[in-house]
């Protein structure tokens, strides 16, 4: 199974991506789609600037996808990650995993998000409503922990 991986500045349509994974198929029992969106942090965030490492971003997401495929028998997988300026309410990332059974689809989608957070070469800079200077978002220990728990499985 060849996953669909896209790194793009443009927005995406979650419903359209889900339809592509299932249409014309009769072997998909479960589809789990995660969409990550930009929050306005109680009105304080004006926008995120997402920097990425072109080339490595696609390659690293591909490696993470292969790890998921080695762990769970997915029948379809789409991962999209945007870069550039993203405003509150807009979509940032999509992971959509299709499987025969729901446990596999849930686990794969959550694993992929945890791994993308800590391994995909993207960096967020925050533009605040009330400040001229933008600051880089610090990596969170909680994200490292979320990724680390899959090592034990």
């Amino acid at each position: 199974m060849e996953p669909t991986i896209r790194v793009q500045a443009e927005d995406f349509d979650a419903g359209c991506e889900e339809a592509l994974l299932t249409q014309g198929r009769r072997d998909v029992g479960a589809l789990v789609t995660f969409t990550g969106l930009c929050r306005d942090e109680e009105g304080t965030l004006a926008a995120l600037e997402l920097e990425h490492y072109p080339g490595m971003a696609e390659e690293e997401i591909g490696r993470v996808a292969q790890e998921a495929l080695a762990r769970w028998p997915l029948v379809g997988l789409t991962i999209i990650h945007r870069y550039g300026v993203i405003r509150p309410g807009e979509r940032i990332v999509l992971v959509s995993a299709a499987a025969r059974h729901r446990g596999e689809a849930f686990a794969a989608a959550e694993f992929l998000m945890d791994y993308l957070k800590t391994r995909a070469p993207f960096w967020k800079k925050e533009r605040r409503v009330d400040r001229a200077d933008a600051g880089w978002v610090a990596a969170k220990a909680v994200d490292d922990e979320a990724a680390a728990r899959w090592e034990k499985l």
Binding site: M56, E60, K117, K124, A139
Partner: protein
């Protein structure tokens, strides 16, 4: 060897990429970081806390003790915050 920098590493150095020709005794990623940190103020600021620096060789993550001899492109950046 081409070096590429991202996020605040790029901002502190003031360059997105450059060509590097480290001396032969610089063999690992960690040694390259030390060598870069001594190049000037921006580099020193970028690499002040080596624990906060991640590296990739030819677009794959590597550990600080990875050898750099065969690298065509080496990247330095902060911990990732995508997703």
């Amino acid at each position: 060897m081409k070096a590429v920098y991202f996020a605040w590493v790029r901002e502190r150095i003031g360059l997105a990429e450059e060509d590097l020709a480290p001396p032969r005794e610089v063999e690992t990623v960690r040694q390259l970081i030390d060598w870069l940190a001594a190049r000037g103020e921006g580099y020193a600021a970028a690499f002040a806390n080596p624990k906060a620096i991640r590296a990739a060789i030819d677009k794959s993550h590597v550990a600080p003790d990875a050898p750099i001899a065969a690298a065509r492109e080496i990247a330095f950046f902060p911990p990732m915050t995508g997703g």
